[in-house]
């Protein structure tokens, strides 16, 4: 296909942008990575991240394929509720703010969310939690890799596999060189690009296609999208909120940030990050409502955002869209690579296999983990097995089961490990059952209800009291 067939960019321009973008980020990652001397520097940026960088990384990491591709997808599918409902995922960051402050206070020298589960709840709960974390991390990594491929295909007609491979090589490259320091610094720049870019796109869209004409077209030919009592959208709303809460509460992406932020920065940073994030899905989702008015009916619903923006803004606009979405994807992919490799290095390799490993050895292993995760993600992305929305909703059954065990584990002494393990295990199993038997819109909701019920029973029956000091274990590491 060429531009005459409807693509905003030629394949060669799309490829050139990817190469330029990739070289710039990898060089920046290498430059920042020179300051990393220890594993703690690499994994937690020296635990010294200030407020501006902290708020920017919280916001930018949460702006991902979810907000730039899936929010328009859900708006295209579920209408106004899809757009508004998606913005409620900001509640995840906002409600994590007090948890982050608590995490920093309870575990000033902690490394990962896995550390907390192991020390607070014991081995059994840790096994369940690690299984959930791995499934979720790969679900998200694969969705991000896929989103890179979909983006390039939608804008330039370039083969899906080329875009997907490119974004993985770029993110693995600069995370490998720079660690969390590079991830947070690039997130700051990417956050600025995302905010400016999204505002520009919305401005041009309203200027080109009036709000009245969009409303009139949708009301005439796609009336369900404006129905405030749209059944599927109502069912989706709280499922999406619990999915977002589960994602943030359990994931080491957010725990590693809480632990890396300086002093009492965590609470304010997550709160501001959430508030900054809140309007972004509204803007990106609104773009999808203009699709019918512009005569755009995408092959796949997750392609609607970039296609509309490229149609309205032309070639220059397509370049802007490309940079914004690529920044959004990169800001999440790098964070996830860093956080998951920390989990593998710290929780599995160091704590289970090589407790005597030296700091230099762990640093080296952490880099190998990033590389390995990148290769595995690439292999899983090769067959484009599902739409982004479907892939993400599947993971909802897993992560929503962790919400109550995490909250109660951080604030109460009474919930024992076996009850927490049962809550996560049965929450996930019944959430998945709901996903397959009823539909995607109940997976996270069922999972969270079951988990909350089991946690409630655990609190009622248990008389044991956890000692908070047990969360600070002595390091066995050799220098």
């Amino acid at each position: 296909m060429n531009e005459a067939s409807g693509f905003a960019l030629s394949s060669s321009l799309g490829l050139t942008l990817v190469v330029l973008f990739g070289v710039a980020w990898v060089l920046f990652g290498w430059y920042l990575g020179r300051a990393n001397k220890t594993h703690e520097d690499f994994a937690l940026a020296g635990r010294n991240v200030g407020f501006a960088l902290a708020a920017a990384t919280a916001m930018a990491t949460w702006v991902t394929s979810n907000t730039t591709l899936v929010a328009p997808q859900l708006t295209y599918q579920l209408g106004v509720w899809g757009m508004v409902g998606y913005s409620f995922a900001a509640l995840g960051l906002i409600l994590f703010a007090p948890l982050a402050a608590r995490i920093k206070r309870l575990m000033p020298h902690g490394y990962t969310s896995g550390d907390f589960i192991r020390l607070r709840y014991g081995r059994l709960a840790w096994y369940v939690f690690i299984a959930i974390s791995v499934v979720y991390a790969f679900g998200w990594l694969v969705s991000l890799g896929m989103a890179g491929g979909i983006l390039l295909e939608a804008l330039s007609g370039l083969d899906y596999h080329i875009g997907m491979t490119a974004i993985l090589i770029i993110c693995v490259g600069y995370t490998l060189f720079g660690g969390l320091r590079a991830v947070i610094a690039t997130d700051f720049i990417q956050a600025l690009i995302i905010i400016i870019g999204v505002v520009l796109i919305a401005w041009f869209l309203i200027d080109t296609v009036s709000l009245e004409s969009i409303h009139s077209e949708v009301q005439s030919n796609h009336p369900q999208l404006l129905d405030v009592l749209f059944p599927a959208a109502m069912m989706f709303l709280f499922n999406n909120i619990f999915f977002g809460l589960g994602e943030i509460f359990h994931s080491n992406v957010w725990w590693s940030r809480a632990l890396a932020f300086k002093g009492k920065v965590a609470f304010k940073a997550f709160l501001l990050g959430g508030l900054l994030w809140l309007p972004i899905p509204i803007v990106t989702g609104f773009i999808a409502l203009a699709a019918p008015q512009l005569g755009i009916f995408p092959p796949s619903a997750d392609m609607v955002g970039p296609m509309v923006a490229a149609e309205v803004l032309g070639k220059v606009g397509a370049v802007v869209v490309f940079i914004v979405v690529f920044s959004a994807l990169a800001s999440s992919l790098d964070s996830l690579l860093a956080a998951t490799s920390d989990l593998v290095t710290r929780d599995i390799y160091h704590k289970k296999l090589r407790p005597e490993a030296s700091d230099a050895h762990l640093l080296r292993f952490n880099r190998y983990s990033i590389l390995g995760l990148g290769v595995l993600t690439w292999l899983l992305c090769l067959p484009q097995i599902a739409t982004l929305g479907a892939l993400l909703n599947f993971a909802g059954a897993f992560v929503a089961s962790t919400i109550f065990p995490i909250v109660l584990g951080l604030y109460t002494r009474r919930l024992p490990g076996r009850w927490a393990a049962a809550a996560m295990f049965f929450g996930t199993v019944l959430g998945l059952t709901g996903y397959f038997v009823i539909g995607f819109y109940v997976a996270a909701l069922v999972s969270c209800i079951v988990s909350a019920t089991i946690c409630g029973l655990g609190l009622s029956f248990s008389r044991s009291e956890f000692n908070w000091d047990d969360l600070n274990e002595a390091e066995e590491q050799q220098s």
């Binding site: 007090p98 369900q224 599927a232 109502m234 709280f238 009916f297 796949s300 209800i449």
Partner: protein, 152 residues
Amino acid sequence: MPKTSGGSSYSFIHIALLLLITLLARPALAYNDSYQLSGPDAPSREGYFTLSITPAPQQQLVLQQSQSATFDTIDAEFRWFGDFEQITLTGFTDGEYFFRLQPAADAAEASSNVVKVTVNHYPRWQAYSLFFIGLALFILLVASLLILRRRV
């Protein structure tokens, strides 16, 4: 009369060959004019669905929508994007919808079979139930957070 009979069979073979040659000699483009359109097997519960065609389009196509199988009135038309083999349509209320393809330049002749899609949204009671269960659980979570945070 065997000769005549033989001549008759030769004529039949000639006619058959001629037909075969004519059939095979149709320009390649003529095959591309005919597309196989397919839709979802089950009714759509969310008001959106995907239609597919084979082979991939070689020309600009328009998808026509009607509420009758004979397309007496065309309710809407959708431009097929590029050479993709799928299109996703959205925002449909309960009902039965019929679709067919036409070349953008020639609106007189259909280029595909007709596909019927049924939209049947989830019942309201199911939507309200899940909504209020979700709301109650969310209130429980926020209340727990606020209460527990004050206690520590």
